[in-house]
């Protein structure tokens, strides 16, 4: 065998001859930004590889290339030693590369059996018709394997989220995978259901199915996988047998970097004046007993994994969603039965996570968008808009945020770049002169330069006496811009860090729910004790 010359053999760990899958030098750029840099690793046949990394480390891009959704700029993949070049998800599927995605792909108006065999219904005696009895019995076999004890004739809308996840896994098994990729499969599973899933995975591995397991729950990755691959900033930083890594080691490899000079020197300093006071706000299933305070001049970061309840909290505070108990005080006054209208009037502003659908009227002009929230302040008499004043104020606002557009008075917002759109959203809220500004992922999908400008704006606003609550999944930017950092996990505030205590590893551990000894200022897992 002359396998030595094969690029795949040069990659770490297992030689390509016995490997199920080999990535060899995969590169991928989006708009000139390299998101994957020379990624190489192998997955042994019948092996379970844990793939971990922070949000944005390149896991999804890599998996999309594997699944034929995206195509690598350079590099090769080998499946059982053969070159593997999936054109689209269908060819990946046909090659036995099967995905279970975090978001489910089920039709809740159809039965379990219909979902399992949507394309390949078992044929009945008369060809065009399907045999329901055979579909049902084959469905039962698959459901048994994942431990889902439900009638296959039941429509999917009767299933709990966990059961749906199990069904999704059953669906994957029905496609005879050679390589199974599970992306955060346990987010909606109970401990027992997860346990059953892990059994299934081990059985599959014993039957020579290879598995790539992606999860933020590091204990699961540790217990389950035999090889570990850590991605950071698009590169494989380390691979090796999982038992060589402790949880701490995993986290360190995931984070390991220094903060750049992206962040402004802080002009603002927190005062003692509480401007936003969230007192034990609870909404069952979303957030639980959240207590937090933001002072004038303070920038508070809200960190957590996806699904930790940060956005839910922001929406509740701004009155977009209901809450069942707790109080919200803005600038010292309680706001009862809060709605967005009341929230704006009492001095709150929310820059939403998704500016395209929730922050802007994409077809309207920059000026109209910027003026939108402040319109009630710009009217004379019974609702007549003072056009000249509006133009002057709006222009002041967009100049203030450094928004660059050819003709902001005429130009539709949708023609702006992502960064400038975000600035338009912020300009809109600056016009309302908010006491509290909540920013939900304000720098997602915008370029580095615009990011830095937004950090500067945040600091300016705080210096002007506003309280800022900034939600982000990028720990770096919170570390760089915040005075204080609050970590949420599973709907609760679990930890709080003052700037002096900022330490990426400790903060990440808190978000992941790890027991890492820490400065004793705040008790873990229970906000109530802190407030009393």
């Amino acid at each position: 065998m002359t396998r030595e010359s094969d690029p795949a053999t040069r990659v770490s760990g297992i030689p390509a001859a016995v490997s199920r899958l080999a990535f060899a030098g995969i590169n991928k750029s989006f708009f000139g930004v390299r998101v994957l840099k020379d990624v190489s690793f192998t997955v042994g046949s019948g092996g379970i590889v844990g793939l971990i990394g922070e949000n944005g480390a390149g896991k999804s891009t890599l998996m999309n290339i594997l699944g034929g959704v995206l195509h690598a700029d350079s590099g090769e993949m080998f499946l059982d030693g053969e070159p593997y070049t999936p054109d689209n998800p269908k060819t990946a599927d046909a090659a036995g590369v099967v995905f279970v995605h975090q978001e489910l792909n089920l039709f809740d108006n159809l039965s379990i059996a219909d979902n399992l065999f949507l394309r390949t219904q078992p044929r009945g005696v008369v060809p065009p018709f399907i045999s329901r009895s055979r579909a049902v019995s084959r469905a039962r076999e698959l459901l048994d394997r994942v431990g889902l004890n439900r009638d296959p004739r039941l429509t999917v809308d009767h299933l709990s989220p966990g059961e749906r996840q199990q069904l999704e896994i059953a669906k994957a098994l029905g496609r005879d995978p050679r390589l199974l990729i599970l992306d955060e499969p346990t987010t909606s599973l109970t401990t027992r259901e997860s346990g059953r899933l892990f059994e299934v995975m081990r059985e599959l591995a014993a039957q020579d199915v290879s598995i790539i397991y992606i999860s933020h729950i590091l204990e699961d990755v540790r217990d389950l996988s035999d090889q570990l691959v850590v991605l950071r900033d698009g590169s494989v930083v380390v691979t090796g047998p999982t038992n060589q890594f402790g949880i701490d080691g995993m986290v360190r490899h995931m984070v390991g970097r220094d903060l750049g000079q992206m962040y402004p020197d802080r002009k603002a300093a927190p005062t003692a004046d509480v401007v936003l006071d969230v007192r034990g706000v609870t909404e069952p299933g979303m957030i639980k007993d959240v207590i937090l305070r933001v002072h004038r001049g303070e920038v508070v970061g809200l960190f957590g994994l996806m699904g930790a309840g940060r956005t839910e909290l922001a929406r509740i505070v701004f009155g977009l969603d209901r809450h069942s108990s707790g109080e919200i005080h803005v600038a010292g006054r309680p706001v009862a039965k809060i709605t967005p209208r009341k929230a704006i009037r009492s001095g709150l502003a929310l820059v939403t996570e998704d500016r395209r659908t929730e922050g802007l009227f994409m077809e309207s002009t920059v000026e109209d968008n910027v003026a939108m929230a402040a319109l009630p302040r710009l009217t004379v008499g019974p609702g007549v808009i003072n056009d000249r004043r509006l133009a002057r104020l709006a222009q002041g606002a967009w100049e203030n945020v450094g928004l660059r557009a050819a003709n902001p008075r005429r130009q539709a917002v949708k023609s702006l770049s992502g960064g400038n759109q975000q600035k338009a959203v912020i300009a809109k809220w600056i016009l309302t002169e908010p006491d509290v500004l909540i920013l939900d992922e304000p720098t997602r999908g915008i370029d580095v330069g615009a990011k830095a400008e937004i950090y500067r704006l945040v600091d300016d606003l705080a210096a002007g006496g506003a309280g800022i609550l900034m939600i982000s999944s990028e720990l770096d930017e919170l570390l760089g811009t915040c005075d204080r950092l609050i970590v949420m996990r599973q709907g609760e505030v679990v930890r709080e860090f003052a700037r002096a205590q900022f330490d990426a590893t400790t903060i990440l551990s808190a978000a992941f729910g790890q027991d890492v000894p820490s400065p004793p200022t705040t008790p873990r897992r229970n906000g109530r004790e802190r407030s009393e």
Partner: protein, 334 residues
């Protein structure tokens, strides 16, 4: 526990809205006039229901994929007019006439489907335009005069094999075939998937465009067949024939449980029950001698009510399932 049974009662009521409404409306008319219950009257409702019923079955296919077909009345008229012209020159068996009219309808539906699935134009606009085009074509052909058909066809329409009027037989066959297609073929199940979420269906590897297209072909073909039923029932087709019937068909399908948002609906019992409901109201209004000018208002009101109920039902069902998700996440959080 009581909360659970209340929830399941709600689910039952929302899921069987159409049957409950049919019984209620029927009882109302019986109370207003006991003669409403007579066998003759019931057969009347049945025979007259065939035309709308066949349109409603086709409409159900289109609604399932989250589309709509406003051209069905015009297609039925076009098929009838073209047929009457054909019959002047060519002799044809009764079955031949039926097949030819189905084919004319299918071609019309094929064009609708092409515009919606290939050009990706909103089905509402496509079929609204098609309604005008097809009716215009037909009116041009008929010179706005009545189209007359051979007596041979009328005698078939008047025949009663096993005591049941011919139009009703045709309706029954359509119901059964359509029901088998929807429930017992891959194609049928895929219609539901496409209507629930076309993007997800594409991801699941379904030929979404072809499936969408085919629903309009089915709707068009059945509109042609509905035209045939009218031809053998009446023998004469007036220029105003089919005007506004798309509304009745949509109402019947929606009252029968088809969702305007796609992915939900059945032929049996759905479209059947919906058709009977629409027809019962129409006949009932005549029966109870409601002012002729009020009749369109009342039927429009009923259709509006149907859509309101559909919206409420969808929202309510969504909320019922969403609450469950939240509850279980709450348990998880504990």
């Amino acid at each position: 526990m009581s909360g659970l049974s209340k929830e399941s009662a709600q689910r039952f009521a929302l899921g069987n809205m159409s049957v409950i409404l049919l019984v209620a409306v029927f009882l109302l008319f019986v109370l207003l006039d006991p003669r409403f219950l007579s066998v003759q009257n019931l057969l009347n409702i049945g025979a007259q229901a065939s035309f709308i019923g066949i349109l409603a079955v086709g409409m159900t296919f289109v609604l399932l994929i989250a589309g709509i077909d406003l051209s069905v009345g015009a297609v039925a008229y076009l098929a009838a007019v073209l047929m009457s012209h054909l019959l002047r020159d060519v002799g044809m068996s009764v079955v031949g006439v039926a097949l030819a009219m189905i084919l004319i309808g299918a071609v019309a539906g094929f064009l609708n489907g092409a515009a919606t699935s290939l050009l990706r134009i909103t089905p509402f606009i496509v079929t609204l335009a098609a309604m005008g085009v097809y009716r215009g074509l037909a009116l041009g052909q008929s010179q706005s005069r009545e189209a007359n058909f051979p007596t041979e066809l009328i005698s078939v329409g008047a025949s009663r094999p096993l005591g049941v009027p011919m139009p009703l037989w045709i309706f029954v066959v359509v119901l059964i075939v359509a029901n088998v297609v929807l429930t017992r073929t891959s194609y049928g199940r895929q219609l539901y998937a496409v209507g629930r979420d076309a993007t997800e269906a594409t991801k699941a590897g379904l030929p979404v465009r072809r499936i969408t297209w085919s629903a309009y072909v089915v709707s068009g073909a059945l509109a042609g067949l509905a035209g045939f039923v009218s031809v053998i029932q009446m023998g004469t087709i007036v220029p105003a024939y089919g005007v506004g019937n798309e509304f009745d068909a949509i109402a019947a399908a929606v009252l029968g449980g088809a969702s305007l948002f796609g992915g939900r609906g059945t032929v049996l019992p759905g479209a059947l029950v919906g058709t009977l409901l629409v027809q019962t109201i129409a006949v009932g209004l005549v029966f109870t001698r409601v002012d002729l000018y009020l009749t369109p208002m009342v039927s429009a009101g009923v259709i509006f009510l149907a859509v309101v109920l559909d919206t409420l039902r969808t929202r309510r069902l969504d909320r019922l399932s969403r609450q469950r998700i939240r509850l279980e996440t709450a348990v998880l959080v504990e």
